[in-house]
Subunit: 242 residues, 2 copies
């Protein structure tokens, strides 16, 4: 089917997926570009393909709608839209694993995407997002993950609910501080751990800090007050993966 | 002096500093917000203060212009402008040091800023930007550095000019690869080195690769093709700082 009008009710519904409210209501989200569409497909989350009218791309068993260039621009969040987009269902949560990254109030979509990418790289099996962390299905987050959000268990939870459970199950809870914490180069290996990274400006919340067994810091030149939180997360996960 | 019109020739000149062309012509650039203005001042690069009319901020020996809220919005690159801005002269280049970070075609301003921040953190003394790397004085780069661009020697050079000189001076030249390089966890300490990080999509250029003594890789899960280049740089600099 070829859609040519942005007034079409189906097209309007897809457009609305740019808003968190509608993503939450429908349990659906959009991905843009062949790479992300294929990642969604191979992970079983792709529901529908949206292609520019002349596109010959094909994925077995996936219903496909064709649209004009104008509709594509209308649906896309990019200045130069890809000719291939996909509607996906949100990823279901799995049981919590043994190597956990907890994000306490991350606001920047690019930072969240980058952190998901690093988490997969360094064998984290579960990411827990605090309720005030940016939406996982924000288009910029999805792009920054480079599709790796389909390869890791991600949950959104109140940290004051989940942290007592982890403590009861004997996870080591690592907090992070920009200075005066334990040098992250001297970490001992733990079977079950959760590492908490905090908000870009304010770090970890006081109520979250209360659950930490030990605070880690990255040794650095004192002219530099702190690293970008995505970089700091990368370094700490790299150390935990030794 | 209070400026109230965006047609004023001085205000127009300041506005033009948002464009690389005029920054190059004048040798000036803009910083926004008290933190960056103070960093520029203490490093000796601040030439002039621009304040919202009611602002009482003061820096000894710095000529100050006052502007209306409207002019501030006009001059700012931010949706919510700070009441304090500064015109700075570009930072002069110093002699090349012994711990060098070379960036070969970095395109994303946020990545460049983050990398400068990490370089200061991990005791790099000189950053060399290839001619096709994004402008150091791009407003997003400056914001992402958190002012640390004032604390490190940064030069822009043709890499095919500078690399032969470094080789002659017995620097170890490290390249980076997403896989199959030497494990960066097993680095030996070198007194004089240059580490080259490549473009977001394409890595290091062929002509640059030819100068590398050894290629480093970060060991990671094979589901993840690569890390964000800012994160990868952070981890490699962290290892080189051991």
């Amino acid at each position: 089917m070829l859609y040519t009008s942005s007034n079409n009710s189906k097209i309007k519904k897809i457009k609305k997926l740019q808003q968190k409210k509608y993503r939450d209501e429908t349990g659906l989200f959009l991905v843009e570009g062949e790479h992300l569409v294929k990642e969604a497909y191979h992970s079983g989350f792709l529901q529908e393909l949206i292609l520019e009218r002349d596109e010959t791309f094909f994925l077995d068993g996936i219903p496909t709608s064709y649209v004009t260039k104008e509709i594509l621009s209308y649906l896309s969040t990019l200045e130069t839209p890809y000719p291939i987009m996909g509607v996906c269902k949100k990823i279901e949560e799995k049981n919590i694993g043994e190597r956990i990254l907890i994000l306490d109030g991350i606001q920047d979509p690019g930072n969240l995407g980058t952190m998901i990418r690093s988490a997969v790289a360094f064998h984290i099996d579960t990411i827990i997002l605090s309720l005030d962390t940016v939406d996982l299905y924000n288009p910029k987050v999805i792009r920054s993950t480079q599709g790796l959000l389909f390869h890791i268990n991600i949950q959104r939870r109140a940290l004051t609910d989940i942290l007592p459970l982890l403590k009861k199950e004997d996870y080591t809870i690592y907090g992070t501080k920009v200075s005066n914490g334990k040098n992250c180069r001297t970490l001992e290996k733990k079977e079950k751990f959760a590492i908490i990274m905090g908000n870009e400006g304010n770090g970890i919340k006081k109520e979250t800090e209360a659950f930490c067994d030990v605070f880690l810091s990255i040794p650095m030149h004192n002219t530099c007050e702190s690293l970008n939180v995505g970089v700091a997360t990368g370094i700490i996960l790299y150390e935990l993966d030794k």
